[in-house]
Every structure is written in structure tokens, then in C-alpha cells.
């Protein structure tokens, strides 16, 4: 049985629909992240599941049971949100064993769970610390442990790492994932950090304007996004507008400003107006321009830490970005160099050109 089934979920604020007919099924033991630009409805969705927001229409089932009208504490969910909400007057131990005790579990059972939880989050030594004595990371770990110790098998994580430093976030995201996995919990995790979602989820749901745009495994969404909005939202992308000039033995060949880009997509016919999407790390720069499908000139080199981005101007007034990490053999490129640009056919995704224009299709606000 699926853990969570959501059907036709709608939340209207006057004429504005924060959620519009959302359908979503989450399997038992699955770790699902929800991403989308601010205002897309992701927080409204998780709060509806938690019982904090009452939806206008639609149904939510948890373990097959319709939870409409149930209070948050009656839904059997553990809810963790961005601002640490530990009980300030209780120490770590009391916070973590709070759930079992209010449920009236025997004292030794509550103790056992408390010990297990502290061990899991690595805070055995801090059991008598009060929340205000904990670092942000330790506080958030305690909040997760408290949510889990109540016996909930559904964890609702609403930007649980949002208030933490980047380093701590990265470390903690893998710990939370492992905890959920080890305990066989189902988790729904709302985040504004695409990399966080990619790195820990079984499945990622992309929302926009109150609707689910697309869902899939992280690799599917990143490597084969089904629409330009997702392609743009979950990573950076070159979008090149052109038309199908030829269908060769492998797939459509798209002509973009006089350059020809081969693809493996056979679902097009000559003359179709399309957008070719290529991630910058799949664009290869060749020192010799001859023999390359696309030729251009290095316009900019931008250092971004772990990657260097080259912007190459190509004819037709267009530019294409290529990302390089530190390579074993450095490229030795200079601004103004004439270079060739190559992209493997597998790495080109083709979309139909939209009537409203690409900019509107990928707009974030």
C-alpha cells in the first residue's frame, strides 16, 4: 500500500490557488523531495499533509486512511521545520523522549528509544544540554530525532536544514537520509536547494504555480527533463533555438544560427521549430576549430570555485557556456581563442519551440 496518496488537492486563497489539483502518490519507505521556485506551493502542500493547513478540496490518505479533519498530532506524522522548535525548557533527553512519554509508553521503553535516538544522531554526550546550548546542526538533529522517536513512520521535513551553514547542511543531509533509510521511514522533504534534493532523494517532484510540473528520479530530472522549465530549474542549461534541418540515421539534426547539432531524438520532422538544451558540463571545447560542428570564439572565462565556465560566442549572435572542473590536463584557453565546440548526441535534449516564447516557459516568477 502506498504511504501517502494525494488526489485533486487544492488550496485557494480567494481567487489565488496556492495548490491546484495536485495528485501525488508516495510509496512506503520512499524519500521524496519537493522543489520549485518560491510561491510554487511546496510549503502549502507539506503543511496540508501535516494537517497545519486545511485544503479547500481534494483528499489526503496516509496508510490508506483519509486524514481530512484530523489534527496534526492525530495523523501519525513527524514534522520538522526550518526554525528549530525544541522545547526550550527541556534538555536533549527530555525532548527526544517527549513523544513516547506523552503517548504513555512504559518508562523503560521510552528510555530505550531515547538512547537509540541519541546514538543515531551522535549526541549521547549532550543528552543534558538545553536547546540554547546546542549549535544549529545539533539542534536540528535533535528535532529530527524527536520527530522519529514519536514512532511516526512518515517524516515531513519542511526546509529542515534551511537555517544552517552550507557545510553543516551538506553533512547533515546525508545523515538525515541515512536515518530515514535505516529506520525504513517514508520522508517528504521540501527544500529550496536543488543539489540537496538531487543528492538524497529517491524521487524529486518539481512544482510551479501550485501544480506538479514533473517528477522523477534525480538522474531523470537532470539528464532527461521532460520540459524546459525543469531543465532550467534543476541545473544550468544552454537553450539554443532553431529548426530541424535533417533527419539522419541517428536522429534529428537541429540547425542553430548556421551550426548543425546532432541529436538522438527521432520524433521530429524537417522544419519543426525546436529548442535544443545542453548542460554546460556536456559542452566540450576543442582547441582546433576545424572539424567541429560548431565554431566560435572564447568570450569570457569565469571562475566559480570548483568549476570554470567558458562562454563561447558563436555566429548568429548566440553564446554557449561550457563548464570545466579541474582537469588532469588543463585546457590552456585564452579569451579570443578560436575554438571548436562539440556535444555528444546523447547529451542534447530537444523540446518543441513554445508559442509563448522560451523566456516565459522557464520564468521563475
Amino acid at each position: 500500500m502506498p504511504k501517502v496518496e494525494i488526489a485533486g488537492l487544492t488550496k485557494a486563497y480567494g481567487p489565488i490557488e496556492a495548490l491546484a489539483h495536485v495528485d501525488l502518490t508516495i510509496g512506503d519507505g520512499e524519500y521524496v523531495s519537493i522543489i520549485g521556485p518560491s510561491g510554487c506551493g511546496k510549503t502549502t502542500l507539506i503543511k496540508c499533509i501535516a494537517g497545519i493547513i486545511e485544503p479547500s478540496r481534494g483528499e489526503i490518505r496516509i496508510d490508506g486512511r483519509d486524514v481530512s479533519g484530523l489534527k496534526p498530532e492525530e495523523r501519525g506524522v513527524g514534522y520538522v521545520f526550518q526554525e528549530i522548535a525544541l522545547f526550550p525548557q527541556m534538555d536533549v533527553w527530555e525532548n527526544v523522549t517527549y513523544g513516547p512519554r506523552v503517548r504513555g509508553w512504559p518508562e523503560d521503553r521510552a528510555r530505550e528509544i531515547g538512547r537509540e535516538m541519541l546514538e543515531m544522531i551522535g549526541l549521547q554526550d549532550r543528552s543534558d544540554a538545553y536547546p540554547n546550548e546546542l549549535s544549529g546542526g545539533a539542534g536540528q538533529k535533535t528535532a529530527v530525532a524527536r520527530a522519529v522517536s514519536s514512532g511516526s513512520t512518515l517524516l515531513l521535513l519542511d526546509e529542515p536544514l534551511g537555517a544552517l551553514d552550507a557545510k553543516v547542511r551538506t553533512d547533515l543531509r546525508y545523515k538525515v537520509r541515512k536515518l530515514a533509510q535505516d529506520l525504513g521511514l517514508t520522508a517528504i522533504h521540501v527544500t529550496h536547494d536543488q543539489e540537496e534534493a538531487m543528492s538524497i532523494s529517491d524521487r524529486v517532484v518539481v512544482m510551479r504555480a501550485g501544480r506538479v510540473v514533473e517528477e522523477g528520479t534525480p538522474a531523470q530530472l537532470y539528464l532527461r527533463p521532460r520540459n524546459t522549465f525543469t531543465a532550467n530549474f534543476v541545473g544550468e542549461a544552454n537553450f539554443l533555438q532553431g529548426a530541424v534541418a535533417e533527419i539522419d540515421g541517428l536522429g534529428a539534426v537541429v540547425e542553430v544560427g548556421g551550426h548543425r547539432i546532432g541529436t538522438r531524438d527521432t520524433s521530429w520532422k524537417i522544419g519543426d521549430e525546436v529548442v535544443a538544451c545542453i548542460r554546460p558540463e556536456f559542452v566540450s571545447i576543442e582547441r582546433a576549430a576545424e572539424g567541429s560542428a560548431i565554431r566560435g570564439e572564447i568570450l569570457r572565462e569565469s571562475f566559480q570555485g570548483s568549476i570554470v565556465r567558458y562562454t563561447i560566442s558563436i555566429s548568429g549572435g548566440m553564446a554557449i557556456s561550457a563548464d570545466y572542473a579541474a582537469d588532469l590536463e588543463p585546457l590552456g584557453l585564452n579569451i579570443g581563442d578560436r575554438v571548436g565546440v562539440n556535444v555528444r548526441r546523447d547529451n542534447v535534449i530537444v523540446y518543441p519551440a513554445s508559442k509563448g516564447g522560451l523566456a516565459r516557459e522557464i520564468a521563475l516568477e
Binding site: P37, S38, P218, Y222, S306, L364, E365
Partner: protein, 369 residues
């Protein structure tokens, strides 16, 4: 005043009770440059901005703006504007009203104010929303209004506290470049506090890394990233492997280090003597996975413990034969290894940054809580 730093702090301290928010901090930021400040929570980033703005009076030390000592001067006489993290727009005023508020309060003529506001809204591309109320705008738009309001003050020193902090990651990416371009076009000096390293690396002329109220390192993004001055910076910026070893041989071209269980690696750094204990910092994207049998300097065998998909990178966590752990962030890899695969890891001697071993261990330097 060519060559004069626009901002200079000399031994500046600010205490809250017994806690030093900033502690004998020294800093110079050149006129017209874009500086980004990075550091863990509680490292003094916001106090630094407020001390420059005059919103906080420092306890000790000198704050100089354009070479003039400004200690004791109120904010409005410092030619600086502070844009706080939570952009508090006036909810009852339109976008235009918010942007014009400061200039009107200073008694500037109505027409001049209107023209100035229009110009600032054009800069942040919100001229069409001049008549909107703040609550009708998205977070990104409100942020830009707050910025326009700061710019409309005419100050030439802009102090931005997480100006993109409230925004979605994808939108941040678009706005960060625009923010820098805008500052450059207006000839402003900017100090921009952020927790987003890629943001700092991409837009800053100078990156300043703070820790416990002091400057750990300041320099160009390239310098900070490739030549971190200490283990804290090497860890705090970027994703880094740390490997402990002992120098076993030192030659003109490089040194040999012995790792645990007598595994040797070569590093280009020759500034340590044989017998010295050292720590090598190696960026994860500079650790590559190669086919077995490849002839290179520094090929270490190991087994893949975890593979994590990050989008543009795939991260492989490898346990080496000597039980050391090393993570490799791969881009453009033809083949992605799987959990349990036997692999060979390689890296260039010149990509190893060598630090003296701390007798107290790595713990404190790697602590970022």
C-alpha cells in the same frame, strides 16, 4: 584618491557582554571593488557590516572610509547604506513610494526624487511595477525594491547583508550577476555578506573569510580557492579531502609523503623537511578516477563506498587500501563507478596544498558549527 582603500579597518573590536563579535579585525577594501564576506554563523559578518555602516559603534580600533576616520559618525554622514537581510519595505507605500522615501525625507525636490526613483527601478528592472504594493510582489522582486531603495540614497558604499538570502537557489543564480553588473555600472564599492560560496566566488573581486570575529584570509576568489592560507579556509571553502602524512623525501621538484600503511604520494610543495608531519588538502574535483594500469604519478587503489548524484557532479566516496577516505567529484566522466567497485584514484602533485600537522588534531579547524 586613486589607490586609497575605500574601507579600512584597523584593529577593530566589538564586544557584546564578554563575547567578541569582532576581535581586533583588520581589513582593506579598495575603492570601487566588490567584496564578499563568507564565514560560519557567529563569525561576525553582520557586525562587520554594521560597524562600517555606523549602525554599531565599535569598542576599539579605527574605521576609515576614504581615508577619513568615521568612528562616532552617525550612519547618515558615512555615505554608506546598509541593506539588511530582511528587507523591511513599508507595506503601506507603493514600490515608487518605498524607493522615494529616503530622498523625500532628506528634502530633495519632488521631480528630482521621481526621476531618481524611476532610474533605480529601471536598474533593477521593476519600472513597470512602480505602482504595486509590496505584498503584490514576489520575494525576488521585493528584494530588488529594497536594493533600489538603498541605491536611491545615493550612497557610494553599499553594504549588503545576504541580499539574495531569501530567494530560491535558481533565482539567486540569475540575480547575482545582475547585482555585480549594477554595482560596477554605478561605480559603487560593495561589501556583500553571503553564505553561498559559489555566489562569492563568481561575483567578488575580493573574498574575505571570517572566523570568530577575525579575518582568516582575504584575496581574489582564485587565490582563496587554490591557495587557502590554512586548514580552516581549505575546509570552509569548497569540498576538500584531508590526508595526513609524513614527509619522507624532499627534492627540488617535489616531496614524497608517506601516508598510513607506507603508501607514498608526491606533492609539488617542497617547503617541509623530511620527518615533518603534514596534512594535505586536496579538492574533491581534483581527485580523479582512472582506469587500472594507467601510468601516472599518484595512483592509489581503493573501493567505492558511496556514489552520490549532485547534478553537474557525481561524487564517489572511495576507501583507499590504507583505510584513508578520499572523495572524488567527477564531471564529464565516461563511466560512473558503482558501489563496491575497485577503482584507481589519481591527482596531480601540484593540486596538493600542504599544511603543517596540528598537534591538537584537525578537529578544531574543521569545526564549522
Amino acid at each position: 584618491m586613486i589607490g586609497t582603500p575605500s574601507i579600512r579597518l584597523v584593529d577593530v573590536s566589538k564586544r557584546y557582554g564578554r563575547i567578541f563579535a569582532i576581535d581586533r579585525l583588520n581589513l582593506e577594501i579598495q575603492d570601487g571593488s566588490y567584496a564578499c564576506v563568507l564565514g560560519p554563523t557567529g563569525s561576525g559578518k553582520t557586525t562587520l557590516l554594521k560597524s562600517i555602516a555606523g549602525l554599531t559603534q565599535v569598542d576599539e580600533g579605527q574605521v576609515l572610509l576614504d581615508g577619513v576616520l568615521v568612528n562616532g559618525l552617525p550612519p547618515e554622514r558615512r555615505n554608506a547604506v546598509y541593506v539588511p537581510q530582511l528587507y523591511a519595505l513599508f507595506p503601506h507605500l507603493t514600490v515608487q513610494g518605498n524607493v522615494s522615501f529616503g530622498p523625500i525625507a532628506r528634502g530633495i525636490g519632488r521631480e528630482e526624487v521621481a526621476a531618481g526613483a524611476r532610474e533605480m527601478l529601471e536598474l533593477v528592472r521593476l519600472e513597470k511595477r512602480a505602482g504595486s504594493m509590496p505584498q503584490e510582489l514576489s520575494g525576488g522582486m521585493q528584494q530588488r525594491v529594497a536594493l533600489a531603495r538603498g541605491l536611491a540614497s545615493g550612497a557610494k558604499l553599499l553594504l549588503l547583508d545576504e541580499p539574495l538570502g531569501a530567494l530560491d537557489a535558481r533565482l539567486r543564480l540569475e540575480l547575482r550577476g545582475q547585482l555585480r553588473d549594477l554595482a560596477k555600472r554605478l561605480g559603487l564599492t560593495v561589501v556583500h555578506v553571503t553564505h553561498d560560496q559559489a555566489e562569492a566566488m563568481t561575483i567578488a573581486d575580493t573574498v574575505i573569510v571570517l572566523r570568530e570575529g577575525r579575518v582568516e584570509q582575504a584575496g581574489t576568489p582564485f587565490h582563496i580557492y587554490h591557495r587557502p592560507g590554512n586548514i580552516f579556509v581549505a575546509n570552509f571553502i569548497g569540498d576538500t579531502n584531508f590526508i595526513e602524512g609524513i614527509v619522507s623525501e624532499r627534492r627540488p621538484g617535489g616531496s614524497t609523503l608517506e601516508l598510513r600503511r607506507s603508501i607514498n604520494i608526491m606533492v609539488a610543495d617542497t617547503s617541509y623537511l623530511p620527518g615533518e608531519r603534514v596534512v594535505v588538502a586536496l579538492r574533491q574535483e581534483k581527485a580523479h578516477i582512472v582506469r587500472e594500469g594507467v601510468q601516472r604519478t599518484n595512483v592509489l587503489r581503493g573501493r567505492v563506498q558511496a556514489v552520490r548524484f549532485l547534478g553537474n557532479f557525481v561524487k564517489c566516496e572511495v576507501r583507499l587500501e590504507n583505510e584513508d577516505a578520499i572523495s572524488c567529484k567527477l564531471m564529464r566522466a565516461r563511466e560512473i563507478p558503482k558501489d563496491g567497485d575497485e577503482v584507481a584514484v589519481t591527482f596531480r602533485p601540484e593540486d596538493c596544498v600542504v599544511f603543517p600537522y596540528q598537534p591538537t588534531g584537525l578537529g578544531r579547524d574543521l569545526e564549522v558549527f
